[in-house]
Symmetry: C2
Subunit: 500 residues, 2 copies
């Protein structure tokens, strides 16, 4: 069902584009400067329980084609605006999960609609190129103006990919290639290596490993999955690699109240990392790279200190392993910095930084040495999608123009303060409130309570995500303001007050 | 540089959309019914050697960001039309490689531009959903009208993915899950399985394998790569799995002249397949699935007979392995059937059929039993991209309206006849012409000659692809007509006549 509201909005936008050439057109810049708060709704508005009857009927239809066990409800994206997601039954919810944290500046942001209606952009959507062999004329410019304008410290090279898993898989591959090139002294591979790699055997396909952390999530293709250890359902029945898995620090919150205890826990984990690197080298599966999230997300919103990451980075350097920071979920401004690793204050934070979700395209940055020595080693048909880079450029413009990182910091403080207040008020239900920017979380006393709170909240117009065993995670868009924080806290408070 | 031609074309299209509501607008249907032949150029037109000076300058710029060793030249996609690719130096080439076989109906097809300028479609581009949890209202309808309208025989289920590698990785995963569920009698996994899978160990992460073929290409993420055996540069330095690799038949061409010899060769390979299945079961790594391309593409355009595939499918059934047909390159009409496996004439051709490229979205069809028993087992953030489904629906409309499969069959016959004539005329240079539809190939006497012919052709306005060791592959769009075949053959003939 086409939305009349959006259609009207778009018709205006199309007319504005068409009158660009006409002198004195007073509508041209209005769409561009309109902020999302002028554009969006004021509050949630609920008409049925969720999923409503229309969602249920569509679920039945889709169930003929796919497993729909994970579907929450069906959406009317045309009518959704800013922080508010509208479903097919006309329910309008404050969305603090944002398509698993992948909507950067809210639904139907006018700036993004403008990208769609700019005639100069049509070709990028209609003719998807094989970027690795036949890039479009503006490709270097678009990379400079989008991804390279936000490159992590020490990195001037970036490779786009289609999704988060492909980004991490190819980052792993570039670490393996880099590691083996070092080992063979940058000489050409031997005939034996060339021969054995064709039949999956060592030394051509060497027994190298990636060290990952318990609780980590890096994706679901088979390389990424071997570094993922968040939930059994992701990994069960899929063959894997014998790679080392270190403990991720289990910290106590609020962090500032448990400085000494947390430092001890982090020291224990770092010691284990070094032990594992030595052990795996001894058993003939040397660690080519270490991969870690700045905050473990899917695994339960687990934090560690800047000191931990700084020391881990040094351990990687000391043992000749590449250091890969997976910012697929933490990147894009949600922690109040564009990259979560900026909070560590390091000039040389990583060898590889991967991204996806809020960046709208997958990919990874890397230091110069990590660039493959030959073409076609890191390659596939599409290698990303230039139409996503167009949207990303505009998202970055909006972030800068509307100072959204400051906004995130402000809203994040209000959100965390509110969560502290709630857990003080309901200590038998909630604990361990934690967060950076709006990347916040709180634990329920058990998974059943967590799930019950989430369902009640949804029926009252607040859509949240879960992670870990009993955690609620908050992943609003960057346009989530203090005003929305108070809406969220009010709904949560009402539910908790009624909770038995 | 924005193209004035395209901008004009688009401005007209936008105006047409805007006047949809106005009565009696005589432009509305013109764009829709315009065929690509009315729209495109007449012939190649060359201004510089390729890559020209502008491409070289852009290559230098992009070289600061990425390895550009695989870049041929930079393109002006705005000015490209139908079968003709225009580069940034103003060279216009007949393109029979089409972005590694991924452009289905030519550049800037008016029908696809119309998708972009339809206000009802904007939301699908601007709000990319997490399809697995919050699908849009029209998602089941769009799947029925696009992917399910072309579903392979026996399959009514489809899962979209972002690219070819993700499609094959997830198809492999669904075969592993299916296989283990069978093995445990559809009972719940044991505590030991749930525990061990979290640390990458058996039995939770079982020692299962996928049987693939020498010369195969199934993608470059680590699961796919373990089933890929086309070129060493793809696999070198990347850890892999101990999975069985069977020989793919090495047939003699033309197929109809070597029926007996080829049947013997195919029997030899099938015998080896059965031996490997038994051997890998004995060594504790049972074959959960067999994966094969209907025509090995990247590996050198290697064909096999319908009888071979039919017997292979029976072997899979006999040994309880899933049978996965990878149609990422062969699918989408290029062989004259929508799926290459239709040429086998089987009612039950496969358990899984994967696709990408010309389908514009990745994904795979599967039989009911291959659907995972629980949600979140086959899952990721985006699980495809509904905006690609919109384009695919329109591509399918064009294929039907313009009878493009018949066109492909006609052009393919003309192309293959022409290649036969050329190899007869230049037997010291060319041999082994082969093909199905326009999915054609011919071998040069060695790789240096092949590469030299391709570069000369490019400078004369014919852009082709290579595969295998010394093969030229033809992968035109479905709008490639007999008229274009003659252009191609004329250029090739001129080059061969001059070839020393």
């Amino acid at each position: 069902m086409a939305s009349s509201l959006l259609t009207r909005q778009l018709a205006i936008s199309l007319q504005q584009n068409l009158c660009l050439a006409a002198p004195g057109c007073r509508y041209v810049s209005r769409t561009a400067t309109k902020t999302v708060s002028e554009f969006e709704y004021d509050a949630p508005s609920m008409k049925t329980a969720v999923p409503g009857p229309k969602s249920q009927e569509l679920m039945r239809q889709l169930g003929e084609i796919q497993n729909v066990g994970a579907v929450h409800f069906f959406c009317n994206y045309e009518e959704s605006r800013g922080n508010y997601l509208v479903d097919v039954d006309g329910n309008r919810m404050l969305d603090v999960y944002t398509q698993i944290s992948s909507i950067p500046i809210g639904y139907n942001h006018p700036a993004l609609i403008k990208v769609m209606t700019n005639p100069n952009n049509v070709s990028a959507f209609v003719n998807r190129p094989a970027l690795g062999i036949l890039p479009p004329e503006n490709f270097p410019d678009k990379l400079f103006e989008s991804l390279l304008s936000i490159a992590p410290s020490g990195m001037s090279r970036v490779q786009t990919m289609a999704c988060g898993s492909c980004s991490n898989e190819n980052a792993f591959k570039s670490m393996f290639i880099w590691y083996r090139n070092k080992e063979r002294g940058y000489a050409s591979p031997s005939e034996q290596e060339v021969g054995t790699c064709m039949i999956n055997q060592s030394p051509g396909c060497p027994d190298l490993s990636i060290l990952s952390f318990m609780g980590a999530f890096h994706g679901r293709t088979m390389g990424c999955l071997a570094a993922t250890h968040s939930k059994a359902i992701h990994k069960l029945d899929i063959p894997s690699f014998d790679w080392p898995i270190a403990p991720f620090p289990k910290l106590q919150y609020p962090l500032e109240e448990f400085v000494r205890e947390n430092a001890q826990e982090e020291a224990r984990c770092l010691e284990e990392v070094e032990d594992l690197i030595v052990k795996w080298r001894q058993k003939g599966r040397p660690v080519a790279g270490i991969v870690i999230e700045p905050i473990q997300a899917e695994g339960g919103d687990n934090h560690a200190s800047p000191d931990f990451f700084s020391k881990l980075r040094n351990i990687a350097r000391k043992h000749g392993c590449a250091f890969h920071v997976d910012e697929v979920q933490t990147g894009g401004g949600t922690t109040g910095k564009f990259w979560a690793h900026e909070n560590w204050g390091l000039d040389d934070p990583a060898d590889v930084v991967s991204f996806s979700k809020k960046l709208l395209t997958g990919g990874y940055y890397h230091r110069d040495e990590l660039q493959p020595d030959k073409p076609y080693r890191i390659f596939n048909t599409w290698m990303g999608d230039p139409s996503k880079n167009l949207f990303l450029s505009e998202v970055l413009n909006v972030i800068r123009r509307e100072n959204l990182l400051e906004e995130v910091t402000r809203s994040g403080k209000a959100l965390l303060q509110g969560l502290y207040a709630l857990q003080t008020q309901y200590p038998h239900i909630l604990s361990r409130a934690r967060g950076q920017g709006t990347f916040c979380a709180i634990d329920a006393c058990n998974d059943a309570t967590r799930d019950s709170i989430m369902l009640k909240a949804r029926n009252k117009g607040l859509f949240m995500g879960s992670c870990g065993e009993k955690t609620i995670r908050f992943r609003p868009a960057l346009v989530f303001k203090e005003y929305h924080v108070h809406q969220l806290l009010n709904i949560l408070n009402n539910i908790l007050a009624e909770h038995k």
